[in-house]
């Protein structure tokens, strides 16, 4: 396991603890049912406690194995790791979803723009790939718009 993976493991364990604490807090506010013995909060609270215990076990194991696994040698990301690319793609996807949410531009046009931007973001040879990227973005963007809007009768933005 490299440093990135161990960080993801720690983040997940902490996230699970936070989520479980929220469930414990909310579960405690639920009143028991009238006709049933345990009420709607009991099982989720039990699961939340179990999740906290398991998360602590994962954190403990990580803490014990920490220096060897997440040491400086492993901290260097593998050359194939492309975090910036992933973050760029995530940002474009968030913008894409926000544009759809706002509903100001037709779905097909937003999708063409998103596909073109992401194709080129991932391309190593932007100039050579541009015609292909544009053709594919146009075909899929407008094609999906047609299929979902008119054939599957979805209420697309």
């Amino acid at each position: 396991m490299d440093a990135g993976e161990s960080r993801a493991e720690t983040a997940l364990a902490l996230l699970a603890i936070a989520l479980s604490s929220l469930f414990l807090f909310e579960g405690a506010k639920l009143k028991p049912g009238v006709f049933e013995p345990i009420g709607p909060g009991a099982v989720p609270m039990g699961v939340a406690v179990l999740t906290i215990v398991l998360s602590l076990l994962v954190l403990h194991a990580r803490w014990r194995a920490g220096p060897e696994l997440a040491g400086p040698d492993n901290a260097q990301a593998a050359p194939s790791e492309r975090w910036l690319l992933m973050l760029g793609m995530a940002a474009l996807t968030l913008v894409y979803a926000a544009m759809l949410h706002a509903g100001l531009v037709r779905y097909g046009y937003v999708t063409v723009a998103y596909l073109l931007a992401t194709f080129l973001l991932m391309s190593d040879r932007v100039r050579q790939d541009l015609p292909w990227a544009f053709a594919l973005a146009l075909t899929f963007g407008m094609g999906l718009d047609y299929v979902f809007r008119y054939l599957l009768v979805a209420d697309l933005p």
Partner: protein, 494 residues
């Protein structure tokens, strides 16, 4: 509609077209490393809304079978398993291809896949109805114990660490709770978000975890293209002498695959690994394994395809998914208003028989299509990822949006995508997560139902024989790794 009628129904032009298309798409996606059958089916689910349930089920079953087999091609030619269930095939498939026998390796794999799938189909036909008849008599406590055992079992075998497997399962269970509580009719854990009144819809969760999460993982750590070997079609058809020499290996590996498929949530990867290990142990030439052994390829591929039919048995008989992809089949049923469970045979017999018929039809289609598509699949492996990954994202977004016509689900899907990515990075298996998510409401409602029947007494958990057996099994599975470690430590001290 009986089984024969279901076959006739699937032979109709439109259902047959869907089956052919589903199998072909499954094979193609299975062959591309990094993409999985689960992802394909997640993206297809929204398109099935407009179909009649029988056609939707047939399409998904065909995709399932195709995707398990498609991974064989990249395993043999690129040394990269197309799906996790083809990992073991790499050992001997690639070695045989290196010796200039790529066609033979693929031919053995396809033939073994077909045999395994048909063998498991036989078990599916023979075992499902009797098991469903038994399951109808389950008490709520029996059912609760069964779901608990299934969760522990999948957590213990998927992934390297049992604690991580359990944690993944528990996160899935936890996230299934928000929404309306069926027993009291009150909302819970919605944190004031009214859109969560009906809880997290299953589609955004599945598409997020398997679609968006996979794309993110692939972007950060792309699967290499591998060293492609020259493909020749020599030996693509398995000879009669090979059928004869491999017969017991085929039967044994298929039986192992079917049995492992029946175990809830275990799936094809474990099936092929166990069958391979057994084949190696009983072989007179174990040294050939890993160096291009025909028996190794046959064992792995027969077993992983046999898990498909095996995994459908608990799903159709009891409503317990036998594998991760069965979760999608279960979701498709729920989306079409069909409640999987022991009463499925009585209430929706036509669905059950269509699934069973589609299982066999997909095996036959897979057998034919693989032979036709192998030369073409070699080229599919070269499709640039820069075009595939953004398209998957677009399909995820439009599919989820179209299913409910609300952007809230798209945001939920993106959130679950991040969670799926983190889980993959952190080594938490996705299988227990989705199975926990889908089974938690059933387990909770059965437990509360049981407690209402006994006025809050937990005694039936230890006094009812089946419940007690299942609970003991769950405890044993939970503590088995600990006992094994203690025994190993004691042995090393001696």
């Amino acid at each position: 509609m009986g089984l024969l009628d279901s076959f006739l129904y699937l032979m109709g032009p439109w259902p047959l077209f869907l089956c052919v298309l589903g199998t072909a798409l499954g094979i193609i996606v299975g062959a591309i490393p990094g993409l999985s059958g689960a992802m394909l089916i997640a993206l297809t689910l929204p398109l099935t809304f407009k179909m009649v349930p029988e056609q939707a089920m047939a399409l998904i079953v065909c995709m399932y079978t195709g995707s398990i087999t498609g991974g064989l091609v990249s395993a043999v030619l690129l040394r990269i398993p197309g799906t996790p269930s083809n990992v073991v095939t790499v050992f001997d498939g690639y070695a045989m291809a290196q010796q200039g026998q790529a066609g033979r390796a693929l031919g053995l794999g396809v033939a073994a896949s077909f045999f395994g799938a048909v063998f498991a189909w036989g078990a599916l036909v023979l075992l499902t109805k009797p098991l469903a008849d038994i399951a109808v008599r389950f008490t709520p406590f029996d059912y609760f114990a069964l779901v608990l055992t299934a969760l522990v079992l999948i957590s213990s075998v998927s992934g390297k660490s049992m604690v991580k497997g359990l944690l993944a399962g528990m996160i899935g269970v936890l996230l299934a709770f928000p929404g309306m509580d069926d027993n009291t009719g009150r909302t819970r854990f919605t944190m004031g978000v009214w859109q969560l009144t009906s809880g997290f819809d299953i589609l955004p969760v599945l598409v997020g975890v398997f679609g968006v999460g996979t794309v993110m993982a692939e972007l950060v750590k792309p699967i290499g293209k591998g060293q492609a070997l020259v493909y020749s079609s020599d030996g693509l058809w398995m000879k009669l002498s090979e059928w004869k020499s491999q017969f017991w290996n085929l039967v044994r590996s298929s039986a192992i695959g079917t049995w492992i498929g029946i175990l809830p949530g275990v799936g094809a990867s474990v099936g092929s690994l166990v069958a391979y290990t057994v084949a190696k142990n009983v072989s007179r030439t174990p040294e050939e394994f890993g160096n291009g052994s025909a028996s190794g390829i046959v064992a792995s591929e027969a077993a992983n395809n046999a898990t498909v039919g095996g995994a459908l048995i608990p799903l159709l008989a009891m409503g317990i998914p036998g594998s991760v992809i069965d979760v999608f089949l279960m979701s498709a049923m729920m989306i079409h208003g069909i409640q999987p469970g022991p009463l499925l045979f009585e209430q929706h017999a036509s669905i059950v028989y269509v699934v069973i018929a589609a299982c066999l039809l997909s095996s036959v289609l897979m057998f034919g299509q693989m032979y036709l598509m192998i030369p073409f699949l070699r080229r599919v492996l070269d499709v640039p990822r820069q075009f595939v990954l953004p398209l998957i994202m677009v399909f995820c977004v439009v599919g989820v949006f179209a299913s409910s016509n609300r952007m809230f689900d798209v945001w939920i899907m993106l959130g679950f995508g991040v969670l799926g990515f983190l889980m993959e990075r952190g080594g938490l298996p996705l299988g227990p997560f989705v199975i926990g998510f889908i089974l938690a409401p059933i387990a909770e409602s059965r437990l509360r139902q049981g407690l209402m029947m006994t006025d809050g007494s937990y005694l039936p958990l230890v006094t009812q024989p089946l419940t007690l057996t299942l609970m003991l099994l769950a405890v044993l599975l939970l503590f088995w790794p600990l006992l094994r470690t203690l025994r190993r430590n004691r042995r090393s001290r001696h």
